[in-house]
Structures are given as C-alpha cells and as structure tokens.
C-alpha cells in the first residue's frame, strides 16, 4: 500500500463514518409526539380513548390508580363501611379523618390522574380544533372529551372542596381549572361557583357536540354518550341544590337512556348462598344492561388483583383479596338486619357477603366489584346508572316537598328490588306516606335511605350526607376509632373491645374535605390549602 492510497483510505473512512452516524434525530418507536397526534388520522380518537384508560391505568403501583381512590375516598369516608383490619395502606387515613395530611400518596395520585385526564381531553379538543373539517365521528369524540372534563372536574370538586353552598359559592374555594393545555403552570384555585359553572359549560359543550355527532362508539357503554351528559347534569345540579334543573335534566336523561331500571331478577346476585360473587349478574356485566348509562370498561388484562376495588371489600377466603372492609352494621340494620326476612326480601342483600371472622368480629364483604369473566377482582364499575337519575330527581322533589313525585321515583327503584322468592307483596315493599312519616328525616330521609342501600359502595353516600348537612355517624366497631386499645390483635376469635366508643363527625368538619396535595402547593404557590391542614 502506498502512502497516497493509504491517505485516501483514511479520508474515505472518516467521511463514511461521519455520514453514517450523522442522523441523530431518533424518535421513540412506541409513542408519538403531540404534533404527530394532530397529524394522525386517529389522533383525536386515540387521545379520547386514552382518557378512559387512565381511569384504571396504574401509576406507581397497583394501588395507585384513579377509580380505586374514586371509590375508596367516598365510601371509606362514609357511614357505610366498617374498617375491619388495621393497614399500612394509606386508605387508613380515609377512615381516620384526623390523620389525613397533605403528604398522602393516594390524595396526590387522584389529584394527579384527574389532571392528566384533563390534559388528555384538552389535547383531544385541540387536535379537533386544528382540523379543517369535522366529521360526525369527530363531533361525537369531542362530546366525549367535554363530558370527561365535566366528570373529572366534578369528581375533584366533591372531594377537595366543601359542599357547594348556593348562597356563598363565590367565596368557597374550588379547584384549579385547566381550560386548555396552554394554561400557565402555576394557577390559583377558582371559586367553587366558577368551578361548577365551568362544569356546566363543559356539559353544555358535550351536549352540543353529541347532538351534532354520531359514532359506532355509542353502542359501547364504556364510552360516554348524550345520556351520560344528561345524567351528569342531574348529579351536578343536585350538588348545586338547583332542584328544578335537576328535575328537568332527569327527564332528558331518562328519555335519552330509555329510563329502564334493571329488574330484580337481573340485578341480584343469584350465587349468594355461599357468600360468593356472581359471575353473570348485573355487576359481572354492567356494560351489557340498559341500567348502565356509562361504565369504565375493564377487560381481563386490566385486572388490578390485590390493588383492585374488590380487594379491600371482598373476602376471598383463600387469598387474592385483602377483604379487610365490609358493610357497616348501621347499613345492615337499615336493610333490616343481616339474615332477617326483611333483609332477605331485598335483592340488594344478595351483594352482602356471608359474615366472616376478622379480628374477633364479623365482617360482611361486598360482591359488587367482582365477577366479570368469573374473575374475583374484575368488574366494569358503573359510574352512571339509570337508578341514580331517578334517585337524584327523587331527592330534588323531596327538597321541593313534592312527595308524590318523589315517592314515585323511589318506587321506580323499589319496584325492581323485591326478591322474586319473597312472600312480601310488591305494594307492601314500595314506600308510601306512612313510610315517610315513620322516617326521622321525613321524605328526604326516605330518598337518602333508598339511595344508601341502592348505591352502597358506589361512591354516593358520603357526599349525600355532607350536601344535606347531615353528620357522619359511625357509632360502631372498627379501626376508625382511634382510641381502640387492644391493638390489631391478629388472633381469630378473640373479641376486641366491643364497647369502644364510636365517632360522630359533624358534616362540616374540615378534614372531611381532602387536603390539596403537598406537591401541588410546593410547586404552585398560588394554590391555597383547605382549612384544617
């Protein structure tokens, strides 16, 4: 090799190397960027569908997901659930209001996931805004995006804000509103009045878009629909104490959804004799019944196992769930007392698990979040049901002292809740004026009691109490009583102190409202903390 040839070789080699490695624009292969989303023909649909996925998508571990907190924050704060076994899981602080603090991971995860879903819904809407021409499918998807925003903001407001006070909402703290993704990072909380008015704006946009749109997605109850928008209106107006609007929109919701309450035979858990979940009743297949207006559709792959909603409230008696919580004795008494004839007459007693010993007492688990595909920890939680619309309207009527209308709506439910094997007549089972007179809270009491039974473990009771300025009375055994002396004596059949004092908590106790997570406040100084933290 001559020297010249060699130099040529170096030069060629160097330039080859330069060219071959020069391309440093390397994009990920399993994800795309925001601008690519806008170009993608399916970007809008993918972003909207992604919002639903985040209802169960895990963040840190299999306990840290949106719907688990959605249900636990509401139900474990209420008088419906017994805290049967002390845990290091932060759900401990849901029961023990006094130990709630701004550093709790579950309080943060719910907040974070809520805003992530909002971000995604805003992304979807901005993709739509960039389109030159919108199809019926696009309008439908925009309707879903607006609906999701309304649902998420409202779910935030009912946990992180005091109950809406129509006379004072302009002075109550709401949540941080994210109108679009161009919002500045740091932002103060809106007032509760602004928050609710934004929820209504979102619902209005959703309504308009659904009316202009159409999609094959309407066949799937896992996606939001116009009926879901109307049902959501009834919930929001109820929380705003706007009874007339609630009644008006209940009418639209019932029309749009068909208004069919699921029958007792379809609803009940037919497999209850052995205390197990049913694998073909309503809660095993929420998505296939007209009763469901909107649910979060799980598949077998989305099983959260020990981190599932069922895990804490269903005792598998062989592993797979924790089974540390159950129906409170108060609620069981309202249902007539476990095992009584009155109790058994109501098909809703079939969701109560047979008692199992826990820390010396008996826990009564709940089967509502089990059974899909025969799997103990899979269910597609029904987030909006026809029954809720009736009961929302019933409550509005009750506040307006319209007893006939209210009882008619309550009986729409009760007429479908008598156990077919019962000897009681349906008329006796339904409520009348005598039942109203017998209830210490009168007509409102009748409606709320019915809702308590119908929606046990479905994230309603806690808000219903606080909205109506009713105290949370937990005068029963459980680890919610901080003063419990004997500790978590993990010995079966040892009786803990049954005489331990229960707790009654005033509806306006400020720690019933969740704290704003510390991470929000340390990075966003404009955001104020709730009182009491």
């Amino acid at each position: 090799m001559t020297m010249k040839k060699f130099i040529k070789y170096i030069a060629v080699l160097a330039s080859v190397a330069f060219v071959s490695a020069c391309n440093l624009d390397i994009m990920p292969e399993d994800s795309i960027t925001g601008s690519q989303m806008a170009q993608s023909p399916t970007g809008l649909a993918d972003a909207v569908t992604g919002c639903y996925q985040m209802f169960f998508g895990e963040t840190d571990d299999n306990n840290a997901w949106y719907l688990r907190q959605y249900y636990q924050f509401a139900d474990f704060s209420s008088d419906d659930v017994t805290y049967g076994h002390e845990t290091e899981d932060e759900l401990n602080m849901i029961f023990r209001y006094g130990e709630r603090n701004e550093n709790l991971g579950n309080v943060k995860i719910f907040w974070l996931q809520s805003y992530k879903i909002l971000y995604s819904a805003n992304t979807a809407l901005s993709i739509a805004a960039q389109k030159t021409e919108l199809t019926a499918e696009d309008y439908y998807l925009m309707g879903e995006a607006w609906f999701l925003k309304a649902f998420i903001v409202h779910s935030l407001a009912r946990l992180y804000c005091e109950p809406y006070d129509p006379d004072n909402a302009a002075n109550q703290a709401g949540v941080i509103l994210r109108y679009d993704n161009l919002d500045a990072d740091n932002k103060a909380r809106a007032t509760l009045k602004e928050t609710y008015s934004y929820i209504l704006d979102c619902l209005k946009n959703a309504e308009d878009n659904f009316k202009q749109g159409s999609s094959s997605r309407s066949a799937n109850k896992g996606f939001a629909s116009l009926a879901a928008v109307y049902a959501m209106y009834t919930r929001v107006y109820l929380y705003m104490s706007d009874w007339d609007k609630c009644i008006e929109y209940a009418g639209y919701a019932l029309t749009e959804s068909g208004g069919e309450v699921i029958s007792a035979a379809e609803f009940m858990n037919t497999n209850n004799n052995n205390g197990e979940y049913n694998d073909n009743g309503y809660f095993a297949e929420t998505y296939s019944y007209p009763e469901t207006i909107w649910c979060c559709k799980f598949t077998a792959q989305d099983d959260q196992e020990t981190g599932s909603i069922a895990s804490m409230i269903y005792n598998s008696n062989g592993g797979g769930t924790w089974g540390e919580e159950g129906y409170s004795t108060d609620l069981l008494e309202l249902m007539g007392g476990y095992g009584t004839a009155a109790f058994n007459d109501d098909v809703r007693s079939t969701f109560v698990q047979a008692p199992y010993p826990k820390n010396g007492l008996y826990l009564y688990g709940c089967t509502k979040f089990s059974g899909q595909g025969g799997d103990m920890t899979v269910n597609s939680p029904a987030l909006l049901r026809v029954s809720e619309v009736y009961l929302n309207r019933a409550e509005a009527y009750a506040h307006k002292d319209m007893q006939t209308e209210a009882l008619a709506d309550v009986n729409e439910i009760r007429g479908n809740r008598l156990n077919p094997s019962s000897t009681t007549s349906l008329d006796d089972f339904k409520y009348d004026a005598a039942d109203v007179a017998a209830n210490e809270n009168g007509l409102l009491g009748v409606v709320l009691d019915e809702k308590r039974i119908e929606f046990a473990f479905e994230a309603m009771r806690f808000f219903d109490l606080r909205r109506n300025h009713m105290d949370i009375v937990r005068q029963y055994w459980g680890f919610h009583t901080n003063t419990y002396v004997n500790g978590g004596v993990d010995v079966e059949n040892t009786l803990p102190d049954l005489n331990a004092d229960g707790i009654t908590t005033a509806w306006d106790y400020n720690r019933l409202t969740l704290p704003i997570p510390a991470q929000e406040r340390s990075n966003n100084p404009l955001c104020d903390q709730n009182p009491g933290y």
Binding site: I10, Y115, K116, Y119, G318, T494
Partner: protein, 976 residues
Amino acid sequence: MKKYLLMIFLLMSASFAMNAQIQVKGVVTESGDDGQPLVGVSVIEQGTLNGVTTNLDGTYSIEVKDAEAILVFSSIGFKTMEVAVGDRSVIDVAMDVDEQLLDQAVVMGYSTKTKGEITSAVTVVDETKLKDVVTNDLGVMLQGKVAGVSVINSSGAPGAESSIRIRGTSSMNAPQEPLYVVDGIIGGEFDPNDVESVTVLKDAGSTGMYGAQANGGVIVVTTKRAKTGDMRFNFKAGFSVTTPDFSRQQYMDAPQLYQYYREYFRDPDTYLIDDLAFNNAISRDVINVNTDWRDMIFRAGTIQNYHFSLMGNTEKHNYYSSVSYFDESGIIKHSGFQRLNVRSNNTFKLTKWLTLTSNLNMTGRFRKTVPGNVLYYFDQAVPFDSPYDENGELKHFGTATDIYSRYKNNPMLAFVNEGVQSNSRSFSLSYDFVVDVQITPWMSFVSQNRISASTWKEHYHRIDNIETMEGGDLVEDSQSFNYGGISTNMLKFNHDWQKNSFSALVGYEAQRDHSEDLAGSGQGLPWGLYVLDVTSKSWTASGITETSGMQSFISQASYNWDQRYFVSASFRIDQSSTFNAANRTAMFPSVSGAWMISNEPWFKSNTISNLKLKASWGKTGMKDIGASKFLDIYAYNVSYDGTTAAVPVQMANPDLKWEQTTQFNVGVELGVTDRLSLDLNYYRNKTNDLLVNRDLAPSVGFATQWQNLGAVLNTGFEAALSVTPVKTKDWMWGVDFSIAYNYNELSGFGDTRITKSTYEGISQVYRDGAKLYTWYLKEYAGINPENGRAQYVDANGELTEDYNEARFVEAGSALAPWEGGVSTRVSWKNLTLSATGNYVWGNWLYGRKRASSLTTFVGNSFLPSNEDKIWRHPGDEATIGLPSASPAMLYHTGYLVKGNYFKIRDITLSYTLPEGTIPNCGLTVSLSCNNVATFTTVWGADPEVSRSDDVVGRISDLDGRYPNKRVYSLQLNFTF
C-alpha cells in the same frame, strides 16, 4: 476535514525529507543482565523528522544523511539516549530504566503516558493490588484503594454489582456511575481475572477527553497481554465459603418478642398492662414455637472460580487467551450465579508500520434469585408462627388459624422446590478491531472499533400464596437484544527533539446503540412446570425498542520540555441524540500542566525522588437520561376495551440540554526515596444545568418533567499516602492510607425549592445552600416522659403531640463528607499478609429498622438496640413510645441515624513458592477473608445503603434486601 488536510500536508513534506545516505542498524536492549530487546523504541535522527521504531526483536535500521548525524533513542520509561553515528554502521544500544520518570506506563484511554508525564489527578491500581480479593466485581476490587473513589456493595446476592462514585455526587437524576473504557474503547466487558491494570481518571485534565460521558469520572481497564516471549500458562483456582453478614441487625426470639408484645396492652390512660386482654390475645405457647425465620433460608454459600490463561509473544504475534468459570451458590437457598468468560487478545505486527489488534470477549451469565417479595416477608414474619403444621407440612397462612405475622403468607412456600425461582441469563459478545498504522516515525493513524451484541432473558416468578393474588402463580419472561458499535479514528503525533517532547491526537468518534425488548407474562401453572408457555391465562405481551447515537470530534496535545515543564490540552465536541437538534452540540475543553521540580538541575536531593506540582481545568458533561426526554410523548402501549388508546406520559421541554461540570484540580506529588509517596489533590467541580426530573404541580397534568435546573458544587481534597517503613532482604512492610473530604452544596435554584419524596412521604430537599440529599422531615422531639406519646415541634417551635402539626426541617445529608481506606502488607521472604479496610463518616441515613417503634400491631421482630428504652410509666425517659398512642406510618427526624462505619474488607495471607523450587513453575497459595468485620453507628441494618433508591440513603425495611456476605477463600495460582 480541515485537520485531515493539514495532516496530509505535513505527511507529504515528511516524505520529501526522506533523502538519506548512510545506513545504520542495530539492536536496542534494556540495560542489565537480562538485556531483553526493547520493542517500539523510537530512533530519530536529531534535528530532522527522519526516524524509525524498533521491531519485536529490538532491531532497527535507519538511513542518516552523514556521519555527523546524532541518533536519539527514546522510549516510555527509559532514559533518552543520544548517540553520534560517526563511522559506525552498527549501533547497539542498552537503555537504562529512568527511575526519575517513574517508568510506569499509564493507560489514559485514547493515549498512554508515563507516570511522570501526567498532569492531572489519576490513580493507577495495578494487578498486584487488584488481585487480593475473590470477587467477580471490579468495584469490590477497588474498594478502599483509591482516594476519592467511593464503592458501595449494598447486596451480597450472587453476581450483584457494586456502585462506584468518583469525587462525590454531582447530579440529581442523571446517572453517576463512571464511564468504563476497556482497552482504549468506551464501554466493553471484561473478566476481572483478565485485568492487567485499572486507571481511575478523576479530573477534567484527563476526563475532558471523554466529554459528555465523563461527569462521573472514567475508569480505564486494560486487559492482559504477553510481556515476555516465552509461552506461559497460568492456572488459578479459588474455593470459598460464604456466610451472611447481617452487620448489626438482630431479631428477637419468641420469648423476647412475647415480652415486648405485652407492651401493646398498656392502657394509654392508666399506664397499666391489661394482662387479661394480653392472655386472651396470645397464648404463652407461642414461646415454644420460636421459629428462627432467617435460619430457615440462610446457609453457608460456596464459590468456585477457575481461570486458565495462556500468553506469549513472537516476532509477529502477541497473544493472550483465557477462559474462566465462576460459580457461586448464594447465602440464601436457591440463589446462585454462574459466569463463563472467554477472552482472546491478539496483536499482529504485520509490517514495520502496520499493527492489527483483534480482541474478543464472550461472557455468559446465569443468575438465580429468590422470587418476588419473599425476602421482605421473611423480614416481617414473627417467631410465634411456624411455617409447618403438626404433620410437618408447609401450611397456608391465609387459611390457617392463629397466625401472628402481619402478612398472611408463608414465605417458606417459595422454597418448596428449585423450580420456583426467578432467574436471568445473558450472553454478550464484543469484538475490538484496532488498526495502528505508523505512517512516519512521528505520526500514526489509529482506528479503534468495537462491535458488541448482547442478549438477556429474565424469568420472574410470583407465588400466589405469598403475593396474595388469585388465579395461580404468575410467570413473567422478558428478553432483550442489544447491539451497538463505536468507531474512533485518530491521527496520533509524537515528536521529540532536543529537550522538547510533543504528542497530539485528533480524531472522530461515532457510536450508536440499539435495544429491543420483549416481555410476556401468564398465570396458572400446571403441577411441576414453571415456564411461560404452560400458563393458562392472563397473558400479556409488550415490547419496546430504543436507539441512541452520538458523534464526536476529539483532539489532544501534550508538550513537555526536558521532563520538567508539562502542558496538555484537549478539546472535544459531542453531539447526542438525547437532545433537541438545537441543543445537541456541546464542547468540552481542558488544559492541564505540571512542573516536575525534582527534575530541575538546581534541585539536588538524595531523599526526595519525586516532587511535582500539577493543575488542571476542564469541562465534562452528562447526557444519559434516556432517549427523547425533551419531547411531548403520547404512549400507545395501552388500550381501552380492545380499542387503541394514547396516553400522555411526558411533557415537552425543547430547551433540555447537557449537564456540564467545570472542574479544577491542583495537586502535589511527593516521593521520598522509594519508601514514601504522597499524592495530594484539591478539587473544585461545579456542575451546572443539572438534569432534574423535577416535580411539577400535578395540576399541569404531570408529576414530573426533565428540566435543567440549579447547580451543584463538589469541592474537597484527597490525600493518598503510601509508606514502606521496612524493606530489607527478607522483610517488607507497606502501608497505604487514603482520605477524601468532599463538600457539597447546591446553588442556582433561586426561589425554587424541590422536595423529592418516596411514595410514603420520606423526603429530601433541594434548594440553594443545601447539600445534595438533605433530609426534609417532620421534626421529632422524643417521647414525652409524662405520657409516653411522641412529640414533635410545630411551626411556632412549640412541642406538639399532633403529627400533622409538626413542622418540616432539614436534617443532615445522606452524602458522606469523609471517606477513605487503609491497607497494609507485610511480607517475610515468600509469605505475605495483607489487609484492607475502608471507612465512611459524617452522613445521615433514614432507618426505620433501628428503633422499631411499637405501632398498633406486631409489625416485625427487629430487636431494639441497647440505647432504646420502652416507655412504661410517667417519668420514663424513653425512645419507644406507648404503642396504643403510636400510629403506624409516621415519618420524622427521629428515624435518622448516623451512617458512620469502618469495614475491614479483606485479610489475605499468601505464600509464593521460592523461584526455582520447581523449574519453570511458579505457585502462589493464598488464604483470605473478605468482609471481615463492620464497626458502625447504624443499628439494625448494614450501613452500606443502596444509592439507586428514589430517595438516597434510606435503610429500607421494604426492599427485602439481600444481605452482604463474608467470604473465606483459598486461592491457588499456578504458572508454568
């Protein structure tokens, strides 16, 4: 390209100068009795560019212009000689070793220098100092031996790797591990038995050449090569027994726990124990159960390692081949590690001007571990429970009665048989191809190339009865295939004239890496089978690919005059795919210089053999935060009800750029005869634009975002002292001592105050003026002697018993300011005894295990330390409060402990057979103990805490950590 053209021009002019008349040849040997021929000695006609180098047999041949010519013979580590040609045509030269130059050649990565030429903070650890530890991990070999290098082994799991930090920690989220350079090329794999020497590059004077990859320092590893011409065989065998080293962690036995447990029944108001309730709750019979859970799974482990090598050197070929096998059975049943490594190094001296090097390394690894969270459950199980029922069968805690452990799962179910295990297998291959063309005596072209590929497979097993899940055991397999390449092409220059010595290099480097991962899982295993394809349900599949690339321009120039004044500079430009095109390019300059005072003519000393001042300044960078962190990303690896879905996973930050460290170092080297050497260095490194995965206000939709924020200063000094107090014919005693102090401070955060927290809320704060990893916790004020309740300090500085009222305070840093090591070596004739230890002082760790406070349930059976006292009655000064008033899950400063420790790492006794006992054979036998003893302030855990946790310095009781091990070994080293 301009540079290349310039070189070509120089090259041309050089060839014109080759116009000579007198032929001179000869042999260059080393002076002394052996007179080994010297290879690669440069022979230059003084005052010209005319020169040659000697061949493998030490011969040379050169044409000089006339008899007046003077030949200059120079070679690294030898005194340069000038010989007048005169009328001779054969000139044989014997070169003297230059002791003043401290002849040791130091491999610096892209170049090699003599120790004397070094202008920056560099430490060389040679083979003799490396080989005294039986391990498969380089970190363990370096522990306590290099000032400013901190090594942590947080796990004794077979095949576990230690973590290495050079000169403190300079980043919040970007990786801190040093860059490895094997045989001159970035990256690469090696067997520790094949290592000839390790060079640790600590300051920018030397690491600046590695630019964007060198923030964590550089460790240059050189594998073996034949030194002599004869073919040599070497066989090493080692046999070890290992035992668990729990440091100061102890568990209570059943009678102890029974007494302790009784405290749970102390009434918070009357302070009396309710024995009725206690006896109701627990039968005295539990004392007889007395299960030692740890004893059930721990055992004495074993290690066998064999290494066989062969090497030799002929005129054309220098070779080294080795095969090694390492087999460890862990101190926990069913855990183990095997490794097979094959290396072949070949250097072919094809012509006078062309040398090819071809190195191949293959490694296969097989690791078995205990599945899932089993170790955690062993940690939490209490001695009241037995894993066996009356018939001696393993029982299922979920259905059994009278189980006291807080988790209702029997971890012994994981040890039913060996099929239930998690394991990983990997195979990797790397091939280096280096072309070295000596274009002229003073210029060469070097092309260093490596291609590497590796594949690994992990198998993960979760037992349903242990993990409280339904549907049977879960099996998850993942597989990864990675390949990549790096090519460095350099022109190197070397020219000495009169008292000047100049060397330089300029080149281009490109690297690209690609990985493809695939994972699947399934549930439900038939009896006796444990692989993925027999699972019956819940199948999942996922896969991901990632590519990264970088290209760089490199250059370096060094000059010295008369071995007295040294100056060196380097300049590197890096471009990486990690960043947006606009922020992709970064420049890394460095300059360094040294003054060898002891080489000055006026410096006359018989005692001081080496006195050198050195200083360096330069920049390095960091980019390894993973691909595409600057983009806004919507992931498609999810779906909703069978419908394609995209979820936002990352917020855009188009401004994301390099994290850069500006480093400054000054040092002094002092050598007193051959008995004492001292190396002192002061450094000041400031890292700007930290790559921070910063917490955001979650209301923006994301919890974190990668940003450049703030700066961290690391400044400190290092002293390494090596003394040989005794050196006689039969006796030798040497002591090495190193100490390093590092001060760390954050700045540039402005008003920003970042806290990083674990899921539970244990947090550390980042703000101006604070140290890295400063704890930020609720302030604890001890147990109230009056009522046994924990007290805190509230916002007003008042005592409170309400945890929620407690204020957050900064409380110490998890970074240790003081670290160092000490080692000693005594030999008498052929017998040598050596010992190594290291120490860490001044850091704070968060350890919930220390004062296992009584909460409202039996959490575990950790034994409280002697300093812990349980509160019983008003007036008690206690550290453990009344259990019924102690909620679980409180995190506060009361759990912080000093992390000081001193560990005796290693004691070795070795005997070498006197030369000639068996002709042509050498044999060394050594006995050693590794991880001999720990002296520490930390109770309840090993003070070597993992640095990879989300919050560094946490003695986690949730990680089910695999304890460290003590190793007793016998090593045989046979050469023939």
